[in-house]
């Protein structure tokens, strides 16, 4: 179960995340996207889900990532991600409830380049009972 003290708190990712052209190329290739100069709109999930997993599955926060399903997802993209970007990620546990034994966690993640928020994402994650 999630530690209720973590709700409303913001956690910073441990280290910055670098985006390479190879990562963008691989994402574009599977979508048959020929313009590889910018990342496809959902590319940032590759960064934010890994960061959220690292934060939420810490023992003191306590989410069981192995029984997790993705409930919904939203992106706000202030500018497209490009190769060479280096991001710091911060994740905020915005909401938490238990419904019929399922834990429902809403997480907002912001990708910062310097002081600029490049992409904000909202994920609802459900840990099945």
């Amino acid at each position: 179960m999630l530690n209720p003290d973590s709700v409303g708190r913001t956690f910073a990712g441990a280290e910055s995340v670098n985006v390479s052209q190879d990562q963008i190329d691989a994402f574009c290739a599977l979508l048959q996207e020929s313009d590889m100069s910018v990342a496809p709109p959902t590319f940032s999930i590759r960064i934010t889900l890994a960061q959220s997993q690292a934060i939420l599955s810490k023992p003191e926060i306590g989410l069981d990532w192995t029984r997790l399903v993705h409930g919904d997802q939203k992106f706000e993209i202030n500018r497209p991600i490009v190769a060479g970007d280096s991001f710091r990620c911060s994740s905020t546990i915005e909401n938490y409830k238990v419904v019929a034994g399922n834990e429902i966690v809403s997480v907002r993640s912001d990708l910062y380049s310097g002081n600029e928020v490049v992409v904000s994402t909202w994920s609802t994650l459900v840990v099945r009972a």
Binding site: Q23, Q32, V38, P41, G71, I77
Partner: protein, 135 residues
């Protein structure tokens, strides 16, 4: 002229196990429910299912193709209401369509529909794009 009610031409994407593996590698999401049938069944799923985010990525391609490229997509959201089931050695459809729900200058909002095998897989899916030719 794009206006409220304009309907975008339907597009069909096809998913198979090879695409799921490719997505697992590109996204870093190696959850076995997206690759291993025995494991998927053991946790109560009917078969291997596609990553919800792969479904969303393909819908994103539909949106960005219409809008004029990845950089045109400003907001994008969806609920994962049913999984896309991907049996071995089969190609399954992801059928995507959309309708313009708001126009504000060059910002256009879309209501998106996505089904697989006739079943709705995304709910409440919306996107906001900037389409400069609509100025």
């Amino acid at each position: 002229m794009i206006e409220v009610g304009t309907v975008l031409a339907e597009e069909v994407f096809y998913l198979d196990r090879a695409l799921l593996r490719e997505y697992a590698d590109a996204s870093g999401d190696q959850n076995p429910i997206h690759q291993n049938e025995e494991f998927a069944v053991s946790v109560g799923l009917p078969n291997v299912i596609a990553h919800g985010m792969l479904t969303m990525a393909l819908v994103g391609k539909f949106v960005s193709d219409w809008a004029g490229g990845s950089a045109a997509v400003k907001e994008f959201s969806a609920r994962f209401v049913k999984p896309v089931i991907v049996p071995k050695d089969q190609k399954v459809d992801l059928t995507v369509s959309a309708r313009v729900s708001e126009v504000a200058g060059d910002r256009i909002k879309l209501d998106i529909s996505a089904t697989s095998a006739g079943i709705k897989v995304l709910g409440m899916s919306k996107a906001v794009v900037v389409k400069s030719e609509n100025k």
